[in-house]
Symmetry: C2
Subunit: 301 residues, 2 copies
Amino acid sequence: MAEQSLTVPRLRGVTREQFLEHLYPQRKPLVLEGLDLGPCTSKWTVDYLSRAGGVKEVKIHVAAVPQMDFIRFCYVYFRTLPFNKLVQRAAEETHKEFFISEDVADIRQQFPSLGGDIKFPAFFKEEQFFSSVFRISSPGLQLWTHYDVMDNFLIQVTGKKRVTLFSPRDAHYLYLSGSKSEVLNIDSPDLDKYPLFPKARRYECSLEAGDVLFIPALWFHNVTSEAFGVGVNIFWKHLPSECYDRTDTYGNKDPVAASRAVQILDRALKTLAELPEEYRDFYARQMVLRIQDKAYSKNLE
Amino acid sequence: MAEQSLTVPRLRGVTREQFLEHLYPQRKPLVLEGLDLGPCTSKWTVDYLSRAGGVKEVKIHVAAVPQMDFIRFCYVYFRTLPFNKLVQRAAEETHKEFFISEDVADIRQQFPSLGGDIKFPAFFKEEQFFSSVFRISSPGLQLWTHYDVMDNFLIQVTGKKRVTLFSPRDAHYLYLSGSKSEVLNIDSPDLDKYPLFPKARRYECSLEAGDVLFIPALWFHNVTSEAFGVGVNIFWKHLPSECYDRTDTYGNKDPVAASRAVQILDRALKTLAELPEEYRDFYARQMVLRIQDKAYSKNLE
């Protein structure tokens, strides 16, 4: 189907120095194997999590999209549930993801008893840390393709996931609506509706318990859970702190300068709309050429 | 060389009503034959023009570009010359065009004795009239590919021209620098420098004495004079008067709303430039998608 499919490189036993000097600057996805994640990978069974997390009420964000069209058929909701119920429910259901959505979350503070079981890879400075989030997924769940604006380690603690990534440079093949791709069935897309989609280069990987996937900011990712599993996302700031939107809870609001640029662009488009179609089209194309000339990078792959 | 070459349609004996109802709204180039242009087509010899135009000093704009690179090697200059000298000079030289460049010109006022010899096609309202300009061309002159923002009749009074036109929708294949294409040798372009140029659809026509070429605003045109000849350009306003730049002398300044939109866009790009390259590139691409979605026409060919 896809014209090109690439395998995300897997590296074993990478040190902090190797990561920071040679890997991180490349801004490409990478699976890190054999990092010391603490005892969580063996300890975090359904029973253990239910006991250790206890009956603490958590606000959750339930995503249930086995490839439904999230635009016409939005099946995402928020609710409150005791943590132990949440874990048991996820283990029994299919096609659901339970994503604990406190205001800027940190599992080490929300669940001190569980926080002691997991070590975060020390591959960024503590002051860059933004959030850590539980992702408790039922088998079969496929989360739509989207990007986040922060760098992200997806720690696969238990279970198994298949992740497909797309480069930020291929965004124009992904039929975006905000930060999400409209193409839900990425393995067998509707080519009448999404003819350019196969041009997007796919980067594929499988995550097993103990694997850590580095998802650089802006890289699109689509995640399918192949078995019940617990993951932890760690988001951190790659840009200086002031670049990010202060009201961002989930690490997915565009940087301040980007949002402002789009707002200004909308004013330009409103001005252009004063002209009849033929002229508007022509000058819109000139504006595109100008953006490509002035703001596109010649160095990025 | 070119992938596609189309012939500009030629129509004989078109009436004002036919033009306005059926042809003008299509916004495509067209050669009109057999219009009543008055006695100019037979009368305007070098001798007659020299006598009738007399020694009146005219400011002229001399373009001498038999395919030179006008960016590195700008061979365009302004000077003042008596009209009779100008006509004789053009008839003797090669590769030059003498374009009388008064402030917003009207040959009927500049040369009342010649103005009586030519009838302008009455295919627009008198209040839409912008300017009429002499173009006195030596054989071999090739004028670079450019667009004007006003509608234009190129009246071939004497001599012979070959005109190649390109649609405004193909602007992105033309390597523009302002309103001009950088590709000077359109018949044998440097494909290392201009690889996309052959994708631009070419519309070709030959003009003989008595032919009138309708060049819709924004259509790119490249004009080669095959013999000494006199042409008259008539520019008129297609848009409401207030859309045009009041300081426009030659009918080639972009409409006010278009210039303002580009200025606003530049502010957006300045804001975007606060972000590191990777983010700037990404959001620049998002901006392009936004322009394509909001301002490109789906109806234009």
